[in-house]
């Protein structure tokens, strides 16, 4: 294990343990206030835990009575704010890490130039941070963290301020770089998780609520938050002979999931595009649920209807025909073969 981490911080109701292998990239997902930034700040040494123990490549980061200072941890952190040093030029900002680890001014600058080119900011070398737009500053901050060549790279929402024209380029650069690195990336974007991470942990309220390989966590999400960012709806319930009895008492017929014990806790996932919406109970033997619409959200050529944890995409024409609005009721139906059933425990 490259990183073993276990720490508690009761003031923030934070208590998390996990390990990370060498070269592995971990995505940390979770809603606002889940403790994602707390986690990376603890590893970086900017916060001290109340109790716990962490090691990186055999060296103790913190433990009972010990705490390695941040600069000796070999961990670089890119925070939500770019926090470029306002008194240094962009080039000197990026050269800061190499200089700090003893490189000559010349070497540090050429390293910095390389990384600036990598993030597509080669022309900004002599600007001051105050003269950059929000996204530009964030790109420079990415370059600065990478130029420090840390053993463990921590990225706290590095793409938050990036536009779609820049994000793919930066994402593919990060993918190239993170392939050889141990890294933890905090993100709200499922695409970052898919394209950058080998593994995902999902935090909520300061605890790990899901943990596993990226694909299985995101395709078989255990909780509504993960389902939400994966673009799925989930329903929880008990395995029955035919399929699932939901916690609301609806009986559903589902194909697959034969390996699951009847009576065991199960989760069902379904894409919003697989759900058909109608005003009255649809004819036929398919699965159908009577739901109250909680929200109607236009999404370009479609309209997304939310009903609690479930979502359905319909055309604007359908939405208008059914005269659906928040507060009205409708029937959501789907075919047995469109849903995925899996165990509620990983």
């Amino acid at each position: 294990m490259t990183l073993t981490f276990s720490a508690a911080l009761p003031q923030r109701r934070f208590d998390v343990s996990f390990t990370l292998r060498h070269g592995e990239t971990l995505a940390v997902l979770g809603p606002n206030g889940a403790g994602k930034s707390t986690l990376v700040n603890l590893i970086a040494g900017l916060l001290a835990p109340a109790s716990g123990h962490a090691e990186l490549e055999g060296e103790v980061l913190f433990g009972p009575g010990v705490s390695t200072p941040p600069h000796a941890r070999n961990v670089a952190l890119l925070a939500q704010d770019a926090l470029l040093f306002p008194h240094l030029s962009v080039l000197e900002n990026v050269a800061f890490g190499p200089r700090s680890s003893g490189a000559s001014r010349r070497t540090a600058r050429s390293t910095a130039r390389t990384w600036l080119a990598e993030v597509g900011a080669a022309g900004f070398e002599h600007r001051r941070p105050g003269e950059l737009s929000g996204g530009e500053a964030q790109r420079i901050a990415v370059a600065r963290a990478l130029a420090a060549e840390p053993r463990l790279l921590l990225l706290d929402e590095p793409m938050a301020a990036l536009d779609v024209a820049v994000a793919p380029a930066l994402r593919s650069m990060l993918r190239r770089v993170l392939a050889h690195r141990t890294a933890i990336i905090v993100t709200h974007d499922v695409l970052d998780a898919f394209s950058l991470a080998d593994r995902v942990i999902v935090l909520d309220g300061g605890r790990i609520v899901d943990d596993g390989p990226t694909r299985s966590v995101l395709e078989q999400p255990r909780d509504p938050f993960t389902a939400g960012i994966a673009g799925l709806s989930v329903l929880h319930g008990i395995r029955t002979a035919e399929g699932l009895r939901t916690t609301d008492g609806d009986e559903l017929r589902i194909a697959g999931g034969e390996d699951l014990e009847p009576g065991s806790a199960c989760t069902l996932a379904i894409r919003p595009s697989s759900i058909r919406v109608s005003a009255s109970r649809p004819a036929g033997a398919g699965n159908a649920l009577r739901v109250g619409i909680s929200d109607v959200e236009p999404r370009g050529d479609l309209v997304r209807l939310r009903a609690g944890a479930l979502a359905a995409d319909v055309t604007p024409a359908t939405a208008a025909d059914l005269d659906l609005g928040a507060g009205s009721t409708a029937w959501f139906a789907f075919r047995a073969e469109d849903a995925v059933l899996y165990s509620a425990t990983r």
Binding site: A44, G45, P69, P70, H71, P86, H87, S100, A148
Partner: protein, 271 residues
């Protein structure tokens, strides 16, 4: 915001009160200028004793300022960046030379570094004789000027906060590197203005010098002492010298301001 709109940033009533305040400070200067015997000005200020005093003042104040920076920066850092029991008392003690009437300060220094002082034995051991030498002048000036540097710097350090220092640490910069490349550059404007304040205070120091260092031409008689002495016999010369002191001070402060402004960067912009 670099390109701020042209409209006034402060309410008008603030401007009005500020004008009254500025007048209160500026009028006394005008009053002095008015009283100067301009016909005799040059001969009065170029007498040998005046020139000696001016040069001594500049030399000792410069050394005192260097000492203030050398000792004051670490003191400010310790006060702003660490927490230990008794820190609040220490901060109050550092203020002491500000409140101590300079004469009392001089007595205290004499009781400490004088021939019969607290440090009599270690100083005798090394054959050090401080009182009534130029060194004593510098010590007296450093004593009264140090709090200026410490306090203005400590305030700036607290205001800047530790976010940039934290980022620098995660980039592998050890405490000394962080200090040199992040902390000090960030508070440079405050450091410069603190040093200027110290220099100015050292230049004007009178009471402690008189008591602790004496008043010997070329050795310990600085410009303020010369002015005090001249007042007795030649008030015209005293006023003329006072004006020289004021001019030197304004020059130094003006130059330093310019340096400070050049070194100052915009603290960030809204977007």
């Amino acid at each position: 915001m670099k390109h701020s709109p042209g409209h006034a940033r402060v309410p008008l009533w603030v401007l009005a009160i500020a004008t009254v305040g500025a007048l209160f400070v500026v009028l006394p200067l005008v009053a002095i200028v008015v009283r100067v015997n301009w016909g005799q000005f040059i001969p009065l200020i170029t007498s040998e004793s005046s020139v000696d005093a001016l040069l001594l003042s500049l030399r000792t104040s410069a050394v005192a300022t260097v000492l203030c920076v050398v000792f004051g920066v670490p003191m400010a850092l310790v006060l702003a960046r660490t927490a230990f029991p008794g820190q609040r008392i220490l901060r109050a003690l550092v203020l002491l030379p500000l409140v101590l009437p300079p004469v009392v300060g001089g007595i205290a220094l004499l009781y400490t570094f004088g021939r019969q002082g607290l440090l009599k034995e270690p100083m005798n051991l090394f054959g050090i004789q401080i009182a009534f030498s130029t060194t004593a002048v510098i010590l007296a000036q450093t004593f009264v000027a140090l709090p200026f540097l410490v306090l203005s710097l400590e305030g700036a350090l607290r205001t800047v906060g530790t976010r940039y220092e934290a980022v620098a640490a995660t980039l592998g910069a050890g405490p000394t590197t962080v200090l040199r490349r992040v902390t000090l550059p960030l508070v440079l404007p405050a450091l410069v203005s603190g040093a200027v304040l110290s220099f100015a205070r050292a230049l004007g120091e009178f009471g402690a010098t008189l008591t602790f260092a004496g008043s010997l031409q070329g050795v310990t008689r600085t410009l303020p002492l010369e002015i005090y002495l001249q007042r007795e016999s030649d008030p015209d010369a005293a006023v003329a010298l006072a004006l020289v002191l004021v001019a030197v001070a304004i020059l130094v402060v003006g130059l330093a301001n310019q340096a400070g402004v050049r070194g100052r960067f915009s603290a960030g912009s809204l977007s």
